[in-house]
């Protein structure tokens, strides 16, 4: 009776289909591009996915509740700059404190978003479209056109992106990627096994019902935004560590990258379904496509975006086709079982 069909949730199937798409992309690139299937490619993608992936986790939490956070790019930039300037001013700041500072800064900005959305009842897209501009404005005024440079940072920050935690063959696991993976694991658990996590799904799935049932919808949405801000703050710290030179335009465009990751990762933009693992896989797939196109010798620089757009569309489309197809197999036996019972 309890076959795999009943054991598996649709989201898990979705994740599998994404893995399938990633494998297909890997095979095609591997066949077309010399040396593509190498540890180096893995290292490249993992390190560049670390930042977007971290932001995408937070974006997932927010999108699950049928909201969206477009201000994450500005939060990443603000935090990277702010923490960078604090570190430049006090090089003795212990690493833990720097991380805490980043997370708190991001959290504070997320709190503002959350308060306006949850308690001020302003639609999230309006709120965060506004704070996207406002946070950037604050950053530019705060930065006053100074640039944080690698030289002004304590060496442990700059070297963070050079270290490896462990290697298997040539495959290296970098601290930035490890931090993001840890966050994915934590939030995957939070979403699947905590009451808070399930409430995110419930609220996004049917906000009216959630209100009717007296779920603490406002508090939960607020928490989602705060967490999203904190994760974006963490990403800001990773950004600082990875790029070192931080200008006032840092992080611009990450909001769309994170939304793309979430969308490709199968998180429903109308809330209620999706996982952080899916979002990470989405970020991974997009980055893989980007990397592959970058390295494909036959493809000129000017063709890249057109192809990337097309591939993202195909990824979303095939994901939805695969999912629909799987759903149908899923539904059919249920019916057959019923009908045969009767006979």
């Amino acid at each position: 009776m309890h076959t795999w069909r009943q054991r598996m949730r649709p989201e898990q199937i979705r994740e599998l289909s994404l893995v399938g798409l990633i494998v297909i992309a890997l095979l095609i690139f591997g066949w077309q591009i010399e040396n593509f299937l190498s540890a180096r490619t893995f290292n490249r993608i993992t390190s560049s996915v670390a930042i977007v992936g971290m932001v995408a986790i937070g974006q997932t939490l927010v999108v699950l509740t049928r909201n969206i956070d477009l201000s994450v790019g500005s939060i990443v930039g603000f935090t990277a700059y702010f923490v960078g300037s604090q570190l430049a001013a006090n090089p003795g700041l212990p690493p833990v404190m720097a991380v805490v500072l980043a997370v708190l800064t991001g959290g504070a900005l997320g709190l503002v978003n959350g308060l306006i959305v949850a308690y001020g009842r302003v639609p999230a897209i309006i709120t965060t479209l506004g704070t996207l501009a406002i946070y950037r404005m604050l950053l530019i005024n705060y930065a006053n056109a100074r640039t944080i440079t690698v030289d002004s940072l304590p060496s442990w920050v700059v070297e963070l992106s050079r270290q490896t935690i462990f290697t298997i063959g040539d495959f290296a696991v970098r601290p930035l990627f490890a931090i993001t993976i840890a966050a994915v694991v934590v939030f995957q658990f939070v979403l699947a096994y905590t009451v808070f996590g399930r409430r995110l799904y419930a609220i996004g799935s049917n906000p009216e019902a959630a209100r009717f049932a007296g779920l603490p919808a406002q508090r939960t949405v607020l928490a989602a935004f705060v967490l999203c801000g904190m994760l974006a703050g963490m990403a800001g710290f990773l950004f600082l560590a990875r790029f070192g030179n931080i200008t006032a335009v840092a992080g611009q465009g990450i909001e769309l990258e994170s939304v793309a990751a979430v969308v490709v990762g199968g998180v429903n933009t109308f809330g209620g379904s999706g996982t952080v693992l899916g979002a990470l896989l989405g970020a991974f797939l997009i980055d893989l496509l980007g990397q592959g196109l970058l390295r494909w010798l036959g493809i000129s620089e000017f063709w890249r975006d057109a192809l990337l757009g097309l591939l993202i569309l195909l990824a979303v489309a095939s994901d939805s086709v695969i999912l629909g197809w799987l759903r149908r197999i899923w539904a059919a036996p249920a019916l057959r079982a019923e009908v045969s019972n009767e006979g």
């Binding site: 306006i116 001020g120 009842r121 302003v122 639609p123 897209i125 309006i126 709120t127 479209l129 506004g130 704070t131 996207l132 501009a133 406002i134 950037r136 404005m137 604050l138 530019i140 005024n141 769309l256 939304v259 793309a260 969308v263 490709v264 429903n268 933009t269 109308f270 000017f302 063709w303 890249r304 975006d305 057109a306 192809l307 990337l308 757009g309 097309l310 993202i312 569309l313 979303v316 489309a317 939805s320």
Partner: protein
């Protein structure tokens, strides 16, 4: 309905009040603001965006979104430029550019309406992809030197002091207003935006309407792109880059719900005026671009937040009044029993 009407009126009333305030402050601080020339400039500088905002209003009320408009604008501009550069007569280049817009719209519309993918995803891909096609065409070149009549179209007054694009906008606005508020299509846009299933169960061809809206969006965006090329007199690969956020901001500030089904063009018209005048005033006062954007961002939030807070305060106050009464009656009952 009446209550809704009142609410709508108050939304638009709010925008109108803001507009009057902005205009008054501008006129006071920057005397140049009131000149006819400046008033025309103020439109002229954003004319392409506000033309696209009209059709974006339809799309958002319909419960969808089109993030690819700016890329379609850029693509149309690049097509005009590249074809012209290759010796195609300008008229034909324009026709091809508009057709390309229709194709882009049909492409988006197909995936959204007939395959059922979320428009956010489809047009996000379109935003990257269409810009990419423009890039393929124009690469790192900058193409200009268009015929005089073409650039005059974008830069010179046509009737009285009004340039072509402004007149076109006025016509399109009237047309959009009539279609959205007074036609059958407009009615369907609202019904589908609120609940597409109800429309489907009423025998309405939902996919066709959605496809039509996306095609209209592509066409209008392409038209705006051509106008932009005329106004700027030169085209590069990044022409119109990033316009989508401004366009969406205009629509949302106009009181159109991102979830579809509500909003109207009067609100959007007012919000366009508010944003343009606000930006113009700040620009005349040499406020930097970042602060301008930040101020518009704050306006966007506050315009929704403040009425909400007022409403909540009123509700709380009313409830408190009721409770006070309740306590009194409670006392009476307990005394009497």
């Amino acid at each position: 309905m009446k209550a809704k009407l009142r609410r709508l009126l108050s939304w638009e009333g709010l925008l109108l009040a803001i507009l009057v305030l902005v205009a008054a402050v501008n006129a006071n601080l920057a005397p140049a603001y009131v000149s006819l020339n400046n008033q025309i400039n103020l439109f002229q500088l954003s004319i392409e965006k506000i033309i696209v905002a009209l059709v974006m209003t339809f799309i958002i009320i319909n419960g969808e979104i089109d993030l690819s408009v700016a890329s379609v604008m850029g693509l149309a501009a690049c097509i005009v430029a590249v074809l012209f550069d290759r010796g195609v007569p300008m008229e034909w280049a324009i026709v091809v550019a508009l057709l390309a817009g229709v194709l882009c719209g049909a492409f988006n519309g197909f995936w959204v309406a007939y395959v059922g993918l979320p428009s956010l995803a489809v047009t996000l891909a379109g935003m990257i992809g269409f810009r990419g096609v423009a890039r393929i065409l124009i690469e790192d070149r900058s193409i200009g030197g268009f015929p005089a009549w073409f650039t005059a179209l974008g830069q010179q007054p046509l009737i009285g002091p009004f340039p072509f694009s402004l007149i076109l906008f006025a016509l399109l606005f009237t047309l959009a207003l009539i279609v959205l508020q007074y036609s059958g299509v407009g009615r369907l846009v609202y019904v589908i935006g609120h609940n597409a299933a109800v429309a489907r169960y009423s025998g309405i061809d939902v996919p066709r309407l959605k496809l039509g809206l996306f095609i209209a969006s592509g066409l209008v965006a392409a038209l705006a792109g051509v106008l932009l090329a005329a106004r700027l007199g030169a085209v590069r690969g990044n022409t119109a880059d990033g316009f989508e956020l401004d366009i969406i901001t205009m629509v949302l500030l106009g009181g159109v719900s991102i979830f579809g089904g509500t909003g109207n063009l009067a609100g959007v018209g007012l919000s366009i005026l508010v944003i343009l005048n606000l930006r113009n005033g700040m620009s005349l006062l040499n406020v930097t671009g970042n602060v301008q954007t930040g101020v518009v961002g704050m306006l966007l939030i506050l315009s929704v937040l403040l009425p909400n807070l007022a409403q909540m305060a009123r509700e709380r106050w009313q409830r408190r009044a009721v409770q006070r009464k309740e306590v009194q009656t409670g006392v009476e009952t307990s005394v009497s029993s």
